[in-house]
């Protein structure tokens, strides 16, 4: 189904008069809107996260990615430049790269052996001149006209971004200064992978986009900290948004790091003041950035998030896998300079998040509960007025849904839903 504009929907769509504090449930269940998103958002004027730069560290490295539902390959060529193109042979449309990651000098489609260099340019065609003078491609066949479809690519702070829109400004201006600063804070260091996991969420991708921006639910749905009487010392925090409101940051600060003798000796801080934890090493941490911020979750439109909580660094990417299905990837990271003790702390803190996260595993099912709860209610709307109806950043409080409204304001704009 190809839909060029919102006007092409079979059932016309108008945003409710209440604006972005009212979100129609139809947005999570209409296959035409989902198809339109593929065009307007993922293949439109956004920077999509493709992979980590360390996924394509060496010349010849390649890594599969997806932009919306479109399969993409990211490569690093012999000169060190990073490229991305649609993983679709220019001949018959088969996948060119089959392995998730690897290293190769040329990429060859298995179907008819058309081969491409690491820039995605067609360089070889089997039997181009036929066999014994018979068959072969027409004389006017021009390999330059048959390359793999390229994306615009930029590497920013260890993240590889791609866009189908070659008019995109630099990633830094797409993010805006505040967002860019926090991405650098989290990731601008020599990174090392600690592990990848993924989770299948049975809901539309936008429900996770809302969820990751939802600072209101954090202490209500996720009760691990309160159950274990963990004094987080970090209730002071706020919400920042980019000027265009579709990216956000939620952060928390702590006044001081608790130092008790046992930990001071090891140069390690215990993040909890006192708790009922039987295995308190879960929260062993060190003051890594020395700016007093203990917890940051940042979202980047359309489907990327980054968290840096205690010392757990993680890039989360939620890929639409259909109208009602989303694959949430968790790329856990450390740095090249981590000591074994620091790596251990990052790994143990990994228990807090992810598919089995002590703090946040509920997010695996809560969005599905919305997807199921709203079945048959496509004409109804959700009510997103915590913290007001406007889009003003909330620097004093996280008891707000302003960044969810910010997401929808950006979504309306790019989708043309007026």
């Amino acid at each position: 189904m190809t839909l060029a504009t919102a006007d092409d929907l079979t059932q016309p769509f108008a945003w409710p008069d209440g604006g972005v504090s009212q979100v129609p449930y139809r947005l999570f269940s209409d296959p035409e809107i989902y198809a339109l998103e593929q065009q307007r958002i993922f293949r439109g004027p956004v920077w999509n996260f493709l992979c980590l730069e360390i996924d394509v560290r060496k010349p010849g490295d390649f890594k599969l990615a997806s932009v919306g539902e479109t399969p993409v390959v990211v490569t690093r060529d012999k000169d060190g430049a990073v490229h991305a193109f649609v993983n679709r042979c220019a001949h018959k449309g088969a996948l060119v790269c089959l392995k998730e990651r690897g290293n190769a000098a040329v990429l060859t489609c298995v179907y008819h052996s058309w081969s491409y260099n690491l820039k995605g340019e067609l360089q070889g065609i089997a039997f181009r001149n036929g066999i014994k003078g018979k068959g072969g491609m027409p004389a006017d066949f021009d390999p330059a006209q048959h390359r793999l479809q390229p994306l615009k690519v930029e590497v920013f702070s260890g993240l590889v971004f791609g866009s189908f829109d070659f008019a995109m400004p630099l990633v830094e201006s797409y993010l805006g200064p505040v967002m860019a600063k926090f991405v650098r804070r989290s990731l601008d260091k020599p990174l090392r992978p600690l592990g990848l996991q993924s989770q299948i969420l049975h809901n539309n991708w936008k429900l996770y986009a809302e969820n990751v921006r939802d600072s209101y639910h954090a202490t209500l749905l996720h009760t691990f900290y309160t159950t274990f009487k963990i004094n987080r010392l970090d209730m002071d925090g706020g919400i920042l948004m980019s000027d265009d409101t579709w990216h956000h940051i939620s952060y928390a600060k702590r006044d001081t790091w608790q130092e008790d003798a046992e930990y001071r000796k090891a140069g390690v801080h215990s993040a909890q003041f006192e708790s009922k934890l039987d295995g308190p090493q879960l929260l062993d941490a060190w003051d890594e950035e020395k700016d007093g911020i203990s917890h940051v979750v940042q979202s980047i439109f359309p489907n990327l998030a980054i968290h840096f909580t205690l010392n757990s660094i993680c890039v989360r990417f939620f890929a639409p896998r259909g109208l009602n299905e989303t694959e949430l990837f968790w790329f856990y990271l450390g740095t090249e300079s981590d000591t074994p003790a620091q790596e251990r702390m990052r790994v143990l803190q990994g228990n807090l998040t992810g598919a089995a996260g002590l703090v946040s595993l509920e997010d695996g099912c809560i969005n599905e509960f919305v997807q199921r709860g709203t079945r048959g209610s496509e004409d109804k709307i959700s009510f997103v007025e915590m913290g007001g109806r406007d889009l003003a950043p909330s620097e004093q409080s996280r008891a707000t849904e302003v960044s969810i409204r910010g997401f929808w304001a950006g979504y309306r704009r790019i989708m043309g839903f007026q």
Binding site: L196, Q199, H202, L358, L361
Partner: protein
């Protein structure tokens, strides 16, 4: 014990197999309180995808260092965590055993776990292998000093709250 480290003591094999079965049955029966007791006090428990395991990456989907962290997991899932009620059913393969010089036993076995939701939907939730190091205890019993659960797939459907 033969020279190769193969366990040819059938009585010992039976005790190891009973440990593996009792562990799975406790989880399948919902007896989460019993779970940490299958480990030594400093025992390790990690669930990891095959992809991460083969790449030598340290992160686990679930990673407990010591039975204290396991008891915290149990308390969390019984009192803090929110999820739809569901049960597991483990199907275990016969273990391959090897006696180490320090008296512990290395065991490798395959498993398949179905998950049944309260409304009846049943799926293959996990499949993979257990890589265990089992330590004989002073009282004659056996406990896991280490249990590494290697999942064939990196994908977890919805969430993982009960240990495997």
């Amino acid at each position: 014990m033969s020279d190769s480290g193969e366990v040819d003591d059938l009585a010992l094999r039976t005790r190891v197999e009973d440990l593996l079965l009792d562990y799975a049955h406790a989880i399948d029966d919902g007896d989460m309180q019993a779970w940490p007791g299958f480990f030594t006090e400093d025992g390790l428990y990690k669930i990891q995808s095959r992809e991460n395991y083969e790449a030598g990456l340290p992160m686990g989907v679930m990673f407990c260092e010591g039975a204290g962290m396991m008891r915290d997991r149990v308390l969390a899932l019984e009192t803090a965590n929110i999820f739809e009620p569901h049960t597991y059913s483990h199907v275990l393969g016969r273990p391959r055993l090897r006696l180490e010089a320090d008296g512990t036993i290395r065991a490798r076995s395959n498993f398949l776990v179905t998950r049944t939701m309260q409304e009846g939907r049943m799926d293959v939730f996990a499949a993979g292998k257990y890589l265990d190091r089992i330590a004989p205890q002073p009282d004659g019993g056996l406990k896991f000093a280490e249990r590494l659960v290697v999942l064939e797939s990196r994908r977890i459907d919805i969430l993982l709250v009960f240990p495997l």
